[in-house]
Amino acid sequence: MKTYKDIVGDGGSDMVGQITEQAGRVQQRMATVKHIVAIMSGKGGVGKSSLTVNLAAAMADRGMQVGILDADINGASVARMTGAGGHQMAGGETGIKPATGHHGVKVMSIDLWLDEAGSPVVWDAPTQKDAFTWRGMVEAATLREFISDTEWGELDYLFIDLPPGTDKLPNMVDLLPQLSGTVIVTIPSAVSQFVVGKSIRMATELLQTPVIGLVENMSAYVCEKCGKEEALFPSGHVAKLAETHQVPYLGKIPFDPRIAMAADNARAFVTEHKETPAAKALLNLAERIGDFVS
């Protein structure tokens, strides 16, 4: 009797062919994108999205064409932070036109699709029961469509704001084997560093995807009046963590409440407060990324 291997094809659906075609669409779309940089952290709330939008603004400010893919389906924030949220998307000739945020940054996010910004993302399904088994698949398909069906056009940088955790990174590496690198974000607390250590290992050991480096966010508080830096946590640990895992240490971004304020007002902190230590640190980070990919 014939076995699975003896039968060519799947009887007419050509699932493999369809999936190959999907991957082909991704590659075709990414052909006009020079560098793809993912921002990740095993930990939530450490500033991934804040860094993403500010890095995008910094690059755009230097005259680069920049896009942001908000890969955080259940915690999307990029559209809001960049002021792209109110935009009406339109169908283009080869896909959907992205929304435009500050500095002309192109944005694609689930937020742009939702009836009410801030409403939870619910997927239609014959059954919501056991959603955990298929939800990840739907999200993966969504990200693939966001990449392949958005009219990104010519981009120097496509930044990907990943959700907290490490489970979306393999998916990204799968979709985008040409990923230029990932920036891993942590804050100088022991717990964050422990969790982030796992993210680094996931990227380096398991996925063998290039790591641009580890960045220490909200490292210190800079007094607005005197400009003196006060450490919020004991310093030096993050640099050591980077060393342990043999990834570059990208430096500190001090705590500055104006980063949060700017985001709330859909403005770019980094270009509006260029002279602050935090903005300088962000600009320096953008430079390090530029050096890495070139």
Binding site: G12, Q88, G91, V121, E145
Partner: protein, 171 residues
């Protein structure tokens, strides 16, 4: 997943998909050598898995509509979410449905619309034919009926042309 006709040791070919109906799909495979049909019935979860993969059972012959998965699956969408235009070199697909299998079903429906009218009785008879060859038989009957100048196919017309195509099913 593949299906094998044990008797003929022959791979079965997909002939028709129906549904999803209350989350369940019917996927019919037939053996090209003995004509035996089997139906695979999916539960809601399996149907959802296929949808999540964003593939079409039965294959897709039309290029995908941009963001089809998001559009068809995301609940509480903006009213004026961007209207799809065709993907490059593609023709627009009749959209708006939440069903991952529409592409294929719509194509089947389109194929059905030949302009030829079928009476209920004639349709009924056609139903008795295994799905695998049903479409073929339908086309063949329509073609011959047209040649003879009929615009409506009823049982009598079927009887008239069926001898010619050696129809061994139904009727």
């Amino acid at each position: 997943m593949k299906f094998l006709c044990i008797e003929c040791d022959e791979a079965m070919k997909l002939t028709e998909t129906r549904g999803p109906d209350e989350g369940s799909m019917t996927v019919i495979f037939g053996c090209p050598s003995c004509g035996r049909d089997i139906a695979m019935l999916t539960n809601a979860m399996e149907t959802q898995m296929v949808r999540a993969l964003d593939v079409k059972i039965g294959g897709s012959s039309v290029p995908a509509e941009p963001m089809a998965m998001v559009k068809n699956t995301l609940r509480d969408q903006r009213d004026n979410a961007p209207m799809a235009q065709a993907m490059p070199a593609g023709k627009p697909k009749s959209g708006g449905s939440k069903c991952p299998f529409t592409g294929m079903i719509t194509e089947a429906e389109e194929a059905k619309q030949s302009g030829m009218q079928w009476t209920e009785e004639a349709e009924q008879r056609l139903e008795n034919i295994p799905p695998m060859v049903r479409m073929m038989v339908r086309k063949s009957i329509e073609q011959q009926a047209e040649e003879k100048g009929y615009t409506v196919i009823d049982a009598a017309v079927m009887d008239e042309v069926k001898g010619k195509i050696g129809m061994m099913y139904g009727g």
